[in-house]
């Protein structure tokens, strides 16, 4: 009997690592491409999301709508039905990060795998999945907090990329200090071309969360994939009937248990009757490391009975119930009843209730925003709206001819806009703080808000006004007035106001097109005419 490792599976393992690398690179390139492309319309940079059946399902449940774009996620499901959770093992970029960091931790001997712990809550993710599905069905869409793509993109967009950019910028400064100006200049142009937004509210918190999830791999390899990932759970349920089954050659097997010991998920290759089809991600580590090459994964046309996770009916019921119970608790915030001033949504955003049912908090809009003005909300939109996008004009305004955020939104929470339609959408209204405005308060000339107003005719008009001076005398100065009908709420006035700390002109959400109640002006109905 030969005692040889399987060369085929070694090769397959290598192919799997290559595949992970390719998909991670693809993810990273698409992420970097999520920026103003030099023309009005951007390509399908958010394509990864469309392969995510969890987002498809929850968004469908929450908004009761089916989207063509999510048809791609059917591919993922079919692949899973045929060959199991290869998506987790071969494609998922977050899975790749977890596997790689687990590998590193293992090599550094930080991972304590020696003691066989009984800690194995692999059912968590299924309960989480049921929780999310039920709450989605009852219109509370919390999937954005746990979906692997949302989590990955959000963490990279608000934390990791900005931090890398700052490090890069510090490196560039070093070149300038060493008087290597040509290198410095070209690096700056390279960096400017990438257009990475570096200012984010909650950047530290979101980065720490990502770090924490990464560090969980110290406890167990691929902790997230094993115990948390609701997408993995969904695919696991579909993998149940797949055709790739483990086969252990009893003659070759020396019962060393190395496969089970090294298994990166909780699939338990040995003994074969314990192998759990829903947990295996087909990384082929077990078949590659088996000292006698006893483990194979033959493709069988007829499904065979195999072990599946032992989901307790009671636990599923409890988690589903919790999902249902969560709905009212998330709805106690005042934002449901009355619009908050700072909740300025991107142009094209659906009415708030519908928006919250669709937004998956992925951060694509935050990435593509050319001014960095879109920011993850914390308290502005209630507990459901944490990390949903809001415009913070003080950080960046909404560029008049830009509709990029609406184009990259993977779920249509921000409805795709044509550039020519953008001007018809109001996201808020500007107000003047006459107590701080330079012409209004001290009678000196300043037209900065008017000058930057992109609307034609301008929503900010300068009108000669008499201003009382501190000496009691009146001075005539042209001071800004706002035409509420013209103002789109883009916020460039707030952004450029020379009174920088607390701008003398500011935007609030009132007047937004998407809301019927958050209004100042009563618009005449389309049928028109004065009834009296």
């Amino acid at each position: 009997m030969s005692r040889k490792k399987s060369k085929t599976y070694r090769l397959l393992q290598f192919t799997r690592i290559t595949s992970q690398l390719v998909f991670f690179t693809l993810f990273f390139i698409l992420l970097l491409q999520t920026r103003f492309p030099g023309k009005d319309y951007i390509g399908e940079v958010e394509i990864f999301f469309h392969f995510d059946p969890l987002l498809a399902l929850t968004t469908y449940l929450a908004s009761h709508l089916i989207f063509n774009l999510f048809l791609l996620s059917v591919i993922t499901l079919i692949v899973t039905l045929l060959v199991g959770r290869v998506f987790c093992g071969w494609v998922c970029p977050l899975g790749a990060i977890h596997q790689f960091s687990s590998f590193v931790f293992k090599k550094l001997k930080w991972l304590k795998t020696k003691t066989k712990s009984t800690f194995s809550p692999k059912l968590w993710k299924y309960y989480l999945l049921f929780f999310l599905l039920i709450s989605s069905f009852l219109t509370l869409d919390l999937v954005g907090f746990f979906d692997p793509f949302s989590f990955l993109y959000r963490s990279f967009i608000t934390g990791i990329l900005p931090a890398l950019t700052l490090v890069f910028s510090a490196l560039i400064s070093l070149f300038y200090q060493l008087h290597l100006f040509t290198i410095g200049d070209s690096l700056v142009q390279f960096s400017e071309n990438l257009g990475i937004n570096t200012v984010f509210l909650q950047a530290l918190g979101l980065s720490l969360l990502f770090l924490f999830v990464l560090l969980l791999n110290l406890k167990k390899e691929r902790f997230w994939c094993r115990y948390v990932c609701p997408l993995g759970a969904l695919l696991g349920l579909f993998a149940r009937w797949n055709r790739l089954k483990i086969k252990i050659d009893e003659e070759k097997c020396i019962k060393c248990n190395l496969c089970t010991f090294e298994c990166e998920t909780d699939a338990i290759p040995y003994p074969p009757e314990k192998w759990t089809i829903t947990e295996c991600v087909y990384c082929f580590t077990c078949s590659a490391i088996c000292p006698t090459g006893a483990i194979t994964f033959p493709f069988k046309l007829s499904p065979q009975r195999t072990a599946m996770v032992n989901l307790s009916r009671r636990q599923l019921l409890v988690s589903s119930l919790l999902g249902a119970l969560a709905v009212p608790f998330f709805r106690l915030s005042p934002d449901r009843h009355r619009a908050s001033a700072k909740r300025i949504r991107p142009p094209g955003a659906l009415p708030e209730e519908k928006f919250l049912r669709k937004c998956v908090k992925c951060g694509e809009c935050l990435k593509v925003c050319p001014t960095n003005g879109l920011q993850p909300a914390l308290t502005e939109a209630g507990p459901e709206g944490i990390w949903t996008p809001i415009l913070v004009p003080r950080i960046g305004h909404c560029e008049y001819y830009c509709t990029l955020c609406s184009q990259v939104c993977p779920t249509g929470a921000i409805q795709e806009l044509r550039v020519e339609d953008k001007a018809t959408i109001k996201i808020g209204t500007a107000w003047i703080d006459k107590n701080r405005c330079i012409p209004w308060k001290i009678g000196e000339p300043c037209i900065v808000c008017e000058e930057h107003c992109p609307v034609s005719p301008k929503a900010i008009q300068l009108v000669e006004t008499q201003v009382r001076q501190p000496d009691g005398l009146l001075k005539t100065q042209r001071a800004p007035f706002i035409n509420l009908e013209q103002c789109t709420g883009c916020g460039i006035c707030e952004n450029k106001c020379p009174v920088v700390d607390e701008p003398a002109i500011y935007v609030t959400s009132v007047g937004e097109t998407r809301s019927e109640s958050n209004r100042v002006l009563l618009e005449t109905l389309a049928t028109g005419g004065d009834p009296y």
Partner: protein, 302 residues
């Protein structure tokens, strides 16, 4: 070499070096007496690039302003996220032709940059200037925060400000503004265009904008000013928006004297130059001519 020949060479060499200023008049003396009428070209025609070539030829060719081996910075207005038809930024064809002429005159390098009001990546692309200037051979770059330095401007009012050093390190500056309406300075032409060379909280300058414009213009002192009035933004400036805010004037004004260019530019808006504070100030300080009758004007129609 004999001592005698050395002394002879030294004398002749020294004399020949000192002669040109004596013959041609010392540059300092020349500047202080603006008695000589500045030469200004006003050209009208259908093609923006032909307007530039004709105007520059009328002024004696680009080699009058650019020397061989010069590093030239061309400063267009790329301030706004608008298309050329909206006339909020300089016409891209005009910029490209200026770049081309500089390179033909032997410039070592031509840089094109501006610090815009809207995000640079958008304004550079949508104004059409980046691609046109690049195609003409210019080095187009985004304003570089590492090149922003607080510089003493020695102005009468504006003492110092953050300036992109590209503008200071250049051998020659060519100002290529676009003619637009502006609600504070009434019009924005060449002198106002220099705000685009600044960083920092430049919006504060609006409290004394006319003074800032005069000080900035005399600090940067362009070798040549070319005012693009092919499309003129006559209202709702400095951005416009509607195509009805734009008038097709098909004119270009160029001169070494930047105040003369702005003064004639103002007349396109039917504003007498002395009505504009910044021009009146600049003229009082002897920075250039603003009265049409005291200029040597070459008018051409293509």
């Amino acid at each position: 070499m004999k001592r005698r020949t050395f002394i002879k060479n030294l004398t002749w060499g020294g004399l020949s070096l000192s002669l040109p200023p004596l013959i041609m008049g010392h540059p300092l003396i020349k500047e202080q007496s603006p008695a000589t009428a500045p030469l200004v070209a006003i050209v009208q025609g259908d093609s923006p690039s032909e307007l530039v070539t004709t105007a520059i030829n009328a002024l004696g060719g680009m080699s009058q302003f650019i020397s061989r081996g010069d590093i030239v910075v061309v400063k267009p207005n790329i301030g706004w996220d608008r298309t050329p038809q909206q006339a909020a930024c300089t016409n891209p064809e005009v910029v490209a032709t200026v770049v081309k002429l500089c390179l033909e005159a032997g410039a070592k390098e031509v840089k094109v940059l501006d610090n815009p009001c809207n995000p640079a990546r958008r304004t550079y692309a949508r104004s059409g200037i980046a691609s046109a200037a690049k195609a003409a051979g210019a080095k187009v770059s985004f304003p570089n925060p590492h090149r922003l330095k607080k510089i003493p401007l020695h102005g009468d009012w504006l003492k110092e400000w953050e300036v992109y050093t590209d503008f200071i390190e250049a051998d020659k500056l060519i100002n290529v503004p676009v003619a637009k309406h502006h609600s504070l300075s009434r019009v924005t032409l060449g002198m106002k265009n220099w705000l685009g060379a600044l960083g920092g909280n430049r919006n504060q300058l609006h409290q004394k904008l006319d003074y800032a414009m005069v000080d900035l213009a005399s600090f940067f002192k362009p070798a040549l000013s070319i005012l693009d009035a092919y499309r003129l933004l006559w209202r709702n400036g400095p951005q416009g928006g509607r195509l009805s805010d734009v008038k097709l004037v098909k004119t270009l004004i160029a001169s070494q004297d930047y105040t003369a260019v702005d003064a004639l530019g103002a007349s396109l808006f039917e504003i007498p130059p002395e009505e504009l504070t910044f021009l009146r100030l600049a003229h009082q300080k002897g920075r250039g001519e603003i009265y049409r009758e005291k200029m040597k004007i070459v008018e051409k129609k293509i």
